[in-house]
């Protein structure tokens, strides 16, 4: 473990007993952990573990049903939309598929948050865009459309856009999903470089073990909406916890389904989907 000085040991995000519901189904069952300033925290978990919901909640796309998320001195569970937007200007999020706007060039995508939230002159914005694209290794791609980029380049462009406003915290949703191992390693390198160069606080959600052990300072393993284990790379690697071992050693889950549970899951899922749809409609 790298030596940490005390100035870094300040919590950037702290969660207390965080619960999130979709409809009547509880996805996250009371999570408590902290993300320290300047560290890279990897949230590990399998499909359906709730890790994506956790990330969506951290950036304010889902509202907690109870518990607290403290970020920049505000509790995200209770703040107004205006306060949430103020926080959003200080964080960056890189989505799984990039989520670049297809009708805009890469440069316009990166410039968008700057044009929306700052009163910078156009030449200044252009310089910042070039700088950000250079930082992610996409110098000279300003005028390309996202559809003209490869998967890895899209991810890089998305990172550039997430960094446009010089965020204090950067969130990544499955940075290596859908990329071949070489390109994925490139994205991991990029995350490491950002960490080194900007001392940014980084939160990564992934199920890729290789990538997690490469970039993480600390890890949290989530399963079925509960924290199973957390600790540094070494602590995780040497953990004797059976679920951690199962995850790290990639042992398949025996397929035992209890009929009643399964039926309940199916019906509740259906209702939850309906609810989240109407919620979205309310924007």
């Amino acid at each position: 473990m790298e030596p940490r000085d005390d100035s870094k040991l300040e919590a950037m995000i702290s969660l207390r007993d965080l619960r999130v519901n979709y409809g009547e189904r509880e996805i996250l069952h009371g999570l408590t952990f902290e993300v320290m300033r300047g560290e890279t925290l990897v949230i590990l978990g399998g499909s359906g573990s709730g890790k994506s919901t956790l990330l969506r909640t951290l950036v304010g796309l889902e509202r907690p049903s109870s518990g607290e998320i403290w970020l920049k001195g505000k509790n995200l569970a209770v703040i107004s939309d205006a306060e949430m937007n103020a926080i959003r200007k200080r964080i960056g999020m890189s989505f799984q598929g990039g989520a670049l706007f297809g009708s805009m060039t890469v440069g316009e995508n990166v410039a968008l948050p700057l044009r929306e939230h700052t009163r910078l002159e156009e030449p200044t914005i252009e310089i910042i865009v070039r700088l950000k694209l250079d930082q992610v290794g996409l110098a000279g791609f300003e005028n390309y459309l996202p559809s003209q980029l490869s998967g890895g380049m899209k991810k890089r462009a998305a990172v550039a856009r997430a960094m446009a406003m010089d965020p204090e915290i950067l969130f990544f949703d499955e940075p290596s999903a859908g990329l071949d191992p070489i390109i994925a390693a490139g994205v991991d390198e990029l995350i490491l470089e950002l960490k080194k160069a900007f001392h940014m606080t980084i939160v990564v959600v992934t199920h890729e073990l290789a990538s997690a052990f490469l970039i993480a300072d600390r890890m949290v393993l989530i399963e079925k909406g509960n924290i199973v284990a957390s600790g540094s790379r070494e602590e995780m690697r040497s953990s004797a916890h059976p679920r951690v071992r199962q995850f790290l050693d990639r042992i398949a889950e025996p397929e035992v389904l209890q009929e009643a549970d399964y039926l309940q899951m199916l019906t509740e899922d259906h209702r939850a989907a309906g609810r989240s749809m109407t919620q979205r409609g309310g924007v």
Binding site: R88, A99, V283
Partner: protein
């Protein structure tokens, strides 16, 4: 009993749907009319490009369709009118039915097919690819960024298209008038214009503004509520078209009834 419960359920769902359309429209109206005074200018560039897409690009197909509709109206009314030796009233019949009813309605239906569906597909795809979420995490409200320009473009362009449709319909009628009813072209147009009161045109235009709002609200709402997956985008698009057509007819009925009773006095 169960039947009554089902009706109750559908009515509640329908009202909830109308409610969400209204709140979407209200938010868009906020970003169009109030936010500019708070230092957030309206998105002129997006509005203009939407207006191009919704309005100008629709002109060829709309012209053709309404020209034919005008011609059909002339043929149908002449069929009855000639029995009374009143074939010269074809001009009146076409002018009135076009401006009061079919101009706005056919325009709305063409726009639903071209743009209402496109709104749902565009926003729905953005929902599926997490672009809407990305907007939100960048503190940009999707209604402000995507929906408001569409509302503005539609409420401006639909009345314009309707005026164009009216004139193309009258031209279609004129083709029949000149070839079959012994009109000179100028006389036919003169006769059409003499029949029309400003009221006829204005009621059509008022309807078309409301149609525009309804079509945009439904298209954008369906897009924003798209579920997960590509097939959901198709479903939203279909729903956008079906619901818009229904709503446009409903709005048409309400306003026509209203104008009917207002016109009696």
């Amino acid at each position: 009993m169960e039947f009554a419960a089902q009706i109750g359920g559908s009515v509640t769902d329908g009202l909830a749907y109308l409610g969400s359309l209204t709140s979407l429209g209200a938010r868009a109206a906020y970003y169009t009319f109030i936010a500019p005074f708070k230092g957030k200018p309206i998105r002129l560039q997006q509005t203009i490009s939407q207006a191009m897409q919704v309005g100008v690009r629709a002109l060829p197909i709309l012209s053709l369709i309404t020209f034919f509709i005008g011609l059909i109206l002339a043929l149908q009314s002449a069929y009855e009118l000639r029995k009374f030796g009143a074939i010269t009233f074809v001009a009146n019949a076409v002018a009135i039915s076009m401006t009061r009813e079919l101009g706005p309605l056919i325009t709305a239906i063409v726009v639903i097919g071209r743009s209402g569906s496109a709104f749902a597909a565009e926003i729905g795809t953005m929902r599926v690819t997490e672009e809407i979420d990305a907007l939100e995490t960048m503190a940009i409200h999707p209604v402000d960024f995507l929906v408001a320009p569409k509302f503005l473009a539609m409420t401006i362009m639909l009345p314009c298209l309707t005026i164009w449709a009216n004139s193309m319909g009258i031209l279609g009628g004129a083709l029949f008038g000149v070839t079959q009813a012994g009109f000179f072209f100028g006389r036919y147009i003169r006769a059409s214009l003499d029949t029309l009161f400003l009221r006829d045109i204005v009621t059509g235009l008022i309807k078309s503004v409301v149609f525009g709002i309804a079509i945009t609200a439904v298209g954008c709402h369906e897009g924003l509520t798209t579920g997960v997956g590509a097939e959901e985008v198709g479903r939203s698009t279909t729903r956008a078209v079906v619901v818009s057509i229904f709503l446009v007819i409903l709005v048409d009925l309400v306003f026509t009834t209203l104008f009917f009773f207002l016109g009696q006095r």
